[in-house]
């Protein structure tokens, strides 16, 4: 019995961690640009395929390739697709990120194909070890550890560095930050690069976990993580991470707690919860300042 509880908890923490990292990637971009980057899923996708392409190389190079792919794609989409729209209204930005996401996905299918491909990535992590008498998968513990480390690193970066301060300022009041000399292009590019790093990390972990690379691999993650960002509060990084974590953990916990008939509806439950949050607390659990328009 204790075994199952610990296993479920570890499941919840690891899935929650993955969604927290994904939500953070989305939240970072929203913070500085008010853009909900649906194409974040394609950053995850491109890393997966990069890992596949570089598979024959030694591991450090494979990882490097994967991370570079996401970072470069992130910077390119910012420069080419999103910069021209920088002052557009949120609805236009939303549609355009939708379009970019589809463009990237379909273009990849064009060059590769849409069939899922198997990949034996970091198989050593698939082994199990015994912790407090329970057999757990190393990979899950790695996911939890990586999530925590990355979250801490990002928090440190934002709080303790000059660039981080500039990003936080730009997220709250972009124009005022520019008046003070903060460079808009640089801050936004760094945000995109960071989101690329987050996406690549998530991708590596997911590929190690599922052993599959396919064009839609990022989209599913992003939809749920996006929901988490909304629950946690768009524009607040803590909110994004928390929301992503909660939604991820909730899917696992619902799986464990719901009666068998209703288990398949757990996604529906999660989304109903989202809708309720949007209705009753539209600014999210941890709202960010400066988001409301004043008359």
């Amino acid at each position: 019995m204790i075994d199952r509880i610990i296993q479920t908890l570890v499941d919840a923490l690891s899935v929650g961690g993955l969604y927290a990292l994904t939500a953070l990637g989305i939240g970072l971009i929203f913070g500085v640009m008010r853009l909900i980057n649906f194409a974040h899923g394609e950053l995850i996708m491109v890393t997966g395929y990069a890992l596949l392409a570089a598979f024959a190389l030694p591991l450090p190079l494979v990882l490097l390739f994967g991370f570079l792919a996401a970072i470069v794609l992130a910077l390119v989409t910012e420069r080419v697709a999103f910069r021209p729209l920088r002052n557009a209204n949120p609805a236009t930005l939303l549609i355009s990120s939708f379009a970019v996401s589809f463009l990237l996905q379909k273009t990849l299918i064009l060059f590769v194909d849409s069939r899922p491909k198997g990949i034996d990535f970091l198989p050593a992590l698939g082994r199990q070890i015994e912790v407090v008498g329970v057999r757990l998968q190393i990979l899950q513990l790695v996911i939890i550890a990586v999530s925590v480390v990355l979250l801490a690193a990002l928090t440190w970066f934002l709080r303790a560095t000059a660039v981080g301060l500039q990003m936080r300022a730009a997220a709250e009041d972009f124009r005022m930050a520019r008046v003070l000399g903060v460079r808009a292009n640089r801050v936004i590019a760094i945000a995109f690069a960071l989101s690329g790093i987050l996406a690549a990390t998530v991708s590596c972990l997911v590929v190690a976990q599922t052993g599959i690379v396919q064009p839609r691999m990022g989209a599913q993650l992003v939809i749920i993580a996006f929901v988490g960002t909304v629950i946690g509060g768009l524009g607040s990084l803590t909110g994004a991470a928390l929301g992503g974590f909660l939604v991820g953990a909730a899917t696992i916990l619902l799986q464990a707690l719901l009666p068998p008939d209703l288990r398949v509806f757990r996604e529906a439950f999660v989304f109903v919860a989202v809708t309720l949050v949007i209705l009753f607390r539209p600014q999210g659990l941890i709202p960010a300042r400066g988001l409301r328009e004043r008359v």
């Binding site: 000059a162 709250e172 003070l180």
Partner: protein, 249 residues
């Protein structure tokens, strides 16, 4: 730039938003260390003029020179490096960041960390109340304190020209006192101030020279004493018919 040349020279500037001319034809000079006030009613074009100088809006006509160099084509982010600091209307402090972090952002373009810290310490020395709230989120400050913070933040870039847009707007009188206390403290320090205000009384108490703006042009100018005694002052401010012709060089 030779001695005697003004620090800021605005010549024949016009600012348009589509078909609407917010600023029609403006000449303005501000000397080094001088405090110049621009007063006028809502919609006179005062904010648009500041926006043109700060690089937020591109002038449709005219030239703007600062310290002998043209400001044409200078982007908003670079204004601070040229030596101009803008305190926009509405304070715009970063409410979620601490008082200290807000100040640090003022020094974004400076590289001399020690001098920045010295400047900050000096500011906290002059305004100990803010010093006590160094680590608090700036959103918790009162309106007047926030305005002080906004001005101090702008000063932290060690500008040669400080531009303020309506610092007294939306503040209770006591808070306006706090804001103007900061401005008075830098009088004589060599920093020129270009002050835009609807509240002429306050501005006049501080300024060396003042201009009345209405309908996109300057309609009257002189020292505060001269303007206060001028028969056409009210008319100029409120835009009713005037006897004297356009002034304001």
């Amino acid at each position: 730039m030779s001695k005697g040349d003004p620090l800021l020279r605005v010549s024949g500037v016009a600012v348009r938003y589509g078909p609407i001319a917010a600023v029609r034809d403006v000449d303005l000079t501000v000397g080094a260390g001088e405090i110049v006030a621009i007063v006028g009613p809502n919609g006179a074009g005062k904010t648009s003029l500041l926006s043109a100088i700060a690089g937020i809006e591109r002038p449709a006509a005219g030239t703007i020179e600062f310290a002998g160099r043209s400001l044409a084509g200078v982007v908003l982010e670079d204004i601070v490096t040229r030596g101009i600091a803008l305190v926009p209307e509405g304070r715009h402090i970063f409410a979620s960041l601490t008082v200290q972090e807000n100040l640090m952002l003022g020094a974004t373009t400076r590289g001399d960390g020690d001098a920045v810290r010295a400047d900050m310490d000096r500011f906290f020395g002059t305004f100990p109340i803010l010093g006590r709230r160094r680590q608090q989120p700036a959103g918790q400050l009162s309106g007047g304190e926030q305005q002080q913070l906004a001005i101090a933040r702008a000063l932290l870039s060690r500008p040669r020209l400080l531009m303020l847009d309506e610092p007294s707007l939306g503040l209770a009188p006591m808070m306006v006192d706090q804001a103007y206390a900061v401005l008075r403290s830098i009088r004589g320090s060599g920093v020129a101030i270009l002050l835009v205000e609807q509240n002429a009384e306050r501005a006049f108490a501080l300024a060396d020279r003042a201009l009345v703006m209405n309908g996109g042009v300057f309609v009257l100018g002189g020292t505060p004493a001269e303007l206060g005694a001028h028969p056409d002052f009210d008319a100029a401010y409120f835009g009713i018919g005037m006897q004297s012709e356009q002034a304001g060089r």
